[in-house]
Symmetry: C3
Subunit: 348 residues, 3 copies
């Protein structure tokens, strides 16, 4: 898509300086920008940019920090407005409305208007696909599943029967939604499958990374709230409830019935025991471990295994690194005390 600088500035609701008629065709980083590119400056990197060749068509920058000799859109949140501008210059792909002849669509399914169905897609009985949605090659939509409108399901996405997906959801390649949760009851001899007959609901504007797996509820519902973003290779177990606008980085695993409230931010490779709860807006650092049943409070950053408030974690970790000195100090004290004891004995 192309826009003029003036158009983008207007769409962002920002002022600009320079040639508003200049055409923008793409976003870029300064090092590789060409004469149709929009770049941005957070502030700190101004020196680097000013020294570089200012080939870009336009920069989004804070008012005081914009370099000379280049068109500028002024913003107090340059990175945010750059992302917003990118949504105009590189809009999300639109459905072309075509149904590939190899698509296997069950007669008892509802396909909305202008849905794009790639080669070897499968839509099973009772499934519904909302308008303008794209199913890429090899996507399987199981019996009775629902996909909203304007969704993009990348190649190889698999929805188990009954999975419910909202609008404008993006599921990346290899995502599985609605698989059986991992629950068994042992009689001491073998494992009986605990029923995994619940449902899974993914709300509007969620994006899920490649090969991530989201299990259905066992008896209840696994729920991913609106606007939540999940990275690659994440595991979300049965009955997990994730709030709105949560961010979860790659390879994190969330055990059964754990609750992550709105606006929480979860790093990569974090592990959650079952029935834990992360309160609204809490931040959990990468590789942290949250014990079963643990409540992680709002308004703090947490780190470590098991998780502790970041300040405490840092302090403990620094002391961990000082264990050799502590040990040496104890040894020195033991010598000194022994000497004092010996002196005293002599003194007596």
């Amino acid at each position: 898509m192309s826009y003029t600088i003036g158009q983008i500035a207007a769409l962002l609701g920002r002022e600009f300086r320079g040639d508003g008629t200049r055409t923008l065709r793409k976003v870029a980083k300064s090092e590789t920008a060409d004469e149709t590119a929009l770049i941005f400056m957070q502030g700190e990197e101004s020196t680097r940019i000013e020294l570089g060749v200012l080939r870009a068509a336009c920069v989004i920058a804070r008012k005081g920090l914009a370099p000379d000799g280049i068109n500028v859109i002024f913003s107090e949140q340059p990175k945010l407005d750059f992302a917003r501008a990118a949504a105009y210059l590189h809009p999300r792909p639109k459905s072309n409305g075509s149904r590939h002849p190899t698509a296997e669509i069950h007669s008892d399914s509802e396909i909305g208007e202008n849905v794009e169905l790639g080669p070897f897609t499968v839509v099973e009985a009772g499934a519904r696909i909302g308008q303008e949605t794209i199913l890429h090659a090899g996507v399987v939509v199981g019996k009775g599943s629902g996909v909203g409108s304007e969704c993009i399901l990348h190649p190889g996405v698999i929805l188990y029967p009954g999975a419910q997906i909202g609008n404008r959801v993006i599921l990346h390649a290899g995502v599985v939604v609605g698989s059986d949760g991992f629950g068994y009851v042992s009689d001491g001899c073998r494992h009986f499958k605990f029923p995994q007959v619940g449902t899974v609901v993914v709300d509007d504007d969620v994006e899920v990374g490649c090969n991530t797996t989201i299990d259905r509820g066992s008896l209840g519902t696994t729920h991913i709230g609106e606007g939540t973003k999940i990275d690659n290779l994440v595991q979300i177990a049965h009955n997990v409830e994730i709030g709105k606008h949560v961010v979860i980085a790659a390879q994190t695993g969330i055990s059964g019935s754990t609750i992550i409230e709105d606006y929480a931010v979860i790093g990569g490779q974090v592990g959650f025991g079952d029935h834990a709860r992360v309160q609204k807006g809490a931040v959990i650092g990468s590789k942290a471990g949250v014990l079963p049943g643990k409540i992680v409070r709002s308004g703090e950053i947490y780190w470590g295994v098991p998780v502790r408030p970041l300040r405490e974690y840092k302090r403990l970790n620094a002391l961990f690194g000082r264990l050799p000195e502590m040990k040496a100090e104890i040894e020195a004290l033991k010598r000194e005390v022994a000497e004092l004891q010996a002196t005293r004995q002599k003194g007596n």
Copy 2:
């Protein structure tokens, strides 16, 4: 499936109280149960249930703990019997025996009686599929592989050539069995692939979660024993031997040639170095790390990186949290000893 309360009680070999002719159609949790639902009570939650609306048709409960005013099946293991009942009310899907016209079945393969082949399934030369097995959409069964009877391979499962799968095995979406192990020999300049020409055998009644990967042996065999249950996104390397009725939670990784004996229970995100051994029935907590060659003994719970018996881990972890106090105590001792030394000096 529907059964009367009396029929389910008889199938479970348990006594019941109330209206044995009442129809059960599903299992549920008490909060969402309707008048055809079977629920269960472990015991602790009795208060909650008694206060709730007892809409369910029947509850499985311990004799002394069953609430009044509802039909009851008595059991000393309510959760186990609930799971057993669920297997009647929600039986595992049965093959419908249909072969989708798009299924690509090599003429030199053996397909058993009443096998269900979904759209875009591929069965390569020399492969054998046992009777009543279901291959869902897009499953690929490689050359010379074998799948037993009554198996369910969910969409997108891939068996590399030669993989051998037992009876009643469930492989969830995206599982890969029989891929090359990760072995290279360096000449100091580049990596030569160590041969990955072994086999992989998955025994009867195994269930494997979505996107889990199980490599073939390098020169020998990777083996998953009967009744073992593996969660999503688990990595099982070449030559690993897993015993019977083992449970392995999500995102755990098991390095080459490690042995996990029968009835072991492994948490999520655990990592095993190569050539480790977990003895029969040992329990390893989530996020633990087992060093290469380590033997984890029977009859204990292990935790931490590297793994330690849980009691020891807990004690060390508590002391870790007390490092600031320990440091303060050392500082205080240093002051006091210095003072004692000063006094002594003066005394002399």
Copy 3:
């Protein structure tokens, strides 16, 4: 493939002892070797082999350590030469040049000579596939992607539009290359997608394990260098640069813009924060955690969370295990010092 012992010895450039005309058909381990098998001995296991039945046709062994009564190819690096020999006896599968009738090849794509296209493969507009490459069942090559010559893409591999793959690359089942990176900018209310419009380049002779995910650059390029080997279920984020001949074990996650230089060796389940750098040849142990921005220096082995040089890690870990003793020593010192203070007081 079959070769005589003499031929293999010549191909390896090594001397042999015994019957050079004897036929070799496979590599094996000594326990399961038959009369056409080539085995190897690193040295330490010589006793075991000598006691076993020497059925193998030939052993690769160090000069002084070769057992009697068996044909021997002498090598100072038996495992390396065994791997090299295996490449002759078990050569990488060759394309049979067939195009399955169900393959969906866009008319505006370039398919090289003798490419093998399995059932339900998809090659989109503008994609190029080099000669002798094999696409197994269900592989999807997105718009404008390029795959070099003699590659093997196992079933279910997905290349997003624009991904560039070199020559002789092996991508195992379920690998995704070129997916959107995980980047968002929040306005405090919801998350705006940071543009993920960069590219991804995988160089020659790379091998990538099952279900591993490699994201495209956000504005720049994600790059995997020549000869690098990546295990199963690894996550490689946007803008990551991995050098040549790097080895990365299973379930490791590498955050955005991190650089791993040539010949680094990374264990399993390692986590890297963003913008970290691993210098040439550094070795990082399994489960380690590398903080954002951290530089991991050459010539050392690192371990732990956060990573420390192995010697330091071992020392700290040993002291961690001694915390109860340290605490007891502090308690004893406190008693002794109190006693000394009491004595002094009395003395005064």
